[in-house]
């Protein structure tokens, strides 16, 4: 009895095993070993930033369809180099890009609202109700579509309820760009420092009146004139930086009358300038005193 059981089960296993071995020979599908190798170096976030459904699909596309190897945003340079090594071609790293929210309304606490929105808690629904709850027709509506879309927890709320992107966590996958119904989010080069943080196409006075922070772009065009590289252009009352030309000089941020252009170094520069002015004045004063002393040596 026991012998029968062992023999039967063993025989079944053996037959199945042989059958499968035979089938795997017969139905063998040639898969390029490079696909597995590339798939192994990809970050496996399956975010879709490359334009393919997932990491394995992208690996396949690289090998079989000759897709560009620098499309993986989360992987960055490291992955591009690794993939280049596997494929045996030169690495051409794309500049790392991160997301930027083009609105600095000052957060939920500062923004002016037309009404209190209590509907479905998504941005897509909020913008449908009489053009959104906030007074500015172009600004953030303070639901959390971008935060929910982010795979990497890179977007957080500051104390005023403003959505802030963590530069180091952001991988530039672009999920939030697609999620924002007002198209406020754009992928910008990581090295870029100077940004226009307004999306309002309203006329100057209107735009400023509606912005909670009073930092709307009023379309005055001073930055366009002052830019040494012609990198800023005015479109429908809104200045836009061409990131391929911008050199991060920050002159536009200095001249902007409404502080709609953001440059983290602006205050540092202003401080330096003020100090230099103070020094110059002090030096002038000293010279004047010396001259006065020379004139009246008796005193």
């Amino acid at each position: 009895m026991l012998i029968y059981a062992i023999i039967t089960l063993g025989a079944l296993g053996l037959i199945y095993g042989l059958g499968l071995a035979f089938a795997s020979r017969k139905f063998h599908v040639e898969i390029d070993p490079k696909i597995d190798k590339i798939n192994a170096v990809l970050p496996q976030a399956n975010c879709g930033a490359c334009g393919y459904p997932g990491c394995s699909a992208y690996a396949e596309a690289i090998v079989e369809k000759g897709a560009e190897i620098n499309l993986c945003a989360p992987g960055g340079e490291q992955v591009v180099n690794d993939v280049a090594k596997i494929m045996g071609i030169e690495a051409s790293a794309s500049d790392k890009k991160i997301a930027l929210i083009h609105c600095q309304s000052g957060g939920k606490n500062n923004t002016f609202f037309r009404y209190d929105y209590q509907g479905i808690a998504t941005c897509k629904a909020a913008v449908l109700v009489t053009n959104g709850p906030n007074l500015c027709n172009y600004g953030c509506v303070f639901q959390n579509d971008c935060i929910e879309a982010c795979h990497f927890d890179a977007i957080y709320l500051d104390e005023n309820g403003m959505r802030i992107i963590d530069k180091d966590k952001c991988t530039g996958c672009g999920a939030c760009v697609e999620a924002c119904p007002r198209n406020l989010i754009e992928l910008v080069p990581y090295k870029q420092r100077v940004h226009i943080l307004c999306s309002s196409h309203d006329k100057g006075v209107e735009a400023k009146k509606r912005c909670g922070n009073k930092t709307a772009c009023i379309g005055c065009g001073i930055c366009v004139k002052k830019c040494p590289k012609d990198a800023i252009k005015l479109e429908d009352n809104l200045a836009i930086i061409d990131y391929t030309k911008c050199i991060n000089c920050g002159i536009c941020a200095d001249v902007c009358p409404t502080s709609a252009i953001f440059d983290p170094l602006k205050e540092v520069r202003a401080k330096k300038k003020a100090e230099a002015k103070k020094k110059a004045e002090a030096a002038k004063k000293k010279i004047a005193e010396q001259k006065a002393a020379e004139k009246n040596p008796n005193k």
Partner: protein, 195 residues
């Protein structure tokens, strides 16, 4: 005519009255796990129909011509699992070779079916109910159809639930469980049906 009537009764029983998921509570893992999207639910359903039919065929043959003559019925479970696992593996290989598009669409669901207790359930039930060969195959087919029906219904409901405004504590799994329970109650309505 008698045969056709019997088959019809079997179909109604397997699909509605004794539905594998909602009346027998078999295969609950894919029922909850793969019912988030309609497309994948349909793909999984198709794969299950195929595997259930094949498994019914082979397990019936093994039971009748191998285990019973050797008086080894106590090996039923392990022998069936072995058969189902090998079968799924074989099906996967064949599909990958013959229909790569279908293989991609089914993706991870194919190997998942190996561990689907509904497949083993239908194989064992075929034996317990003393079905003959044709009946066993058809029962497998109908059981798969019933599974697919419920899976697709569930996926349709859950797709709509995604957009519904729910209390935060109810989002996701809790509401899915409640829906599953309600569906089981609804299917209980078929239990008086006799043909």
């Amino acid at each position: 005519m008698d045969f056709i009537a019997k088959i019809f009764a079997m179909a109604i029983a397997a699909i509605f009255v004794q539905n594998f998921v909602l009346a027998r509570f078999l295969g609950l893992c894919p029922y909850i796990g793969v019912s988030k999207k309609l497309d994948s639910a349909l793909g999984m359903g198709m794969a299950v129909i195929f595997v259930m039919t094949m498994a019914s065929t082979f397990t019936w043959l093994i039971q009748t011509y191998l285990l019973i003559p050797l008086k080894l019925e106590f090996l039923q479970t392990i022998a069936f699992i072995l058969t189902i696992a090998s079968l799924v593996q074989l099906v996967e290989m064949v599909i990958q070779k013959i229909a790569p598009a279908l293989y991609k669409a089914l993706g991870v669901f194919l190997p998942l079916i190996t561990t689907n207790c509904a497949v083993l359930g239908v194989a064992i039930l075929n034996i317990n109910e003393n079905y003959n060969f044709i009946e066993a195959i058809l029962n497998g087919l109908f059981a798969g159809l019933g599974f697919t029906l419920v899976l697709v219904l569930m996926a349709g409901i859950r797709e709509r639930l995604e957009r519904a405004e729910l209390p935060h504590s109810m989002k996701g799994m809790p509401i899915a469980m409640i829906v599953a329970g309600s569906m089981a109650l609804a299917f209980l309505g078929f239990s008086g049906l006799k043909i």
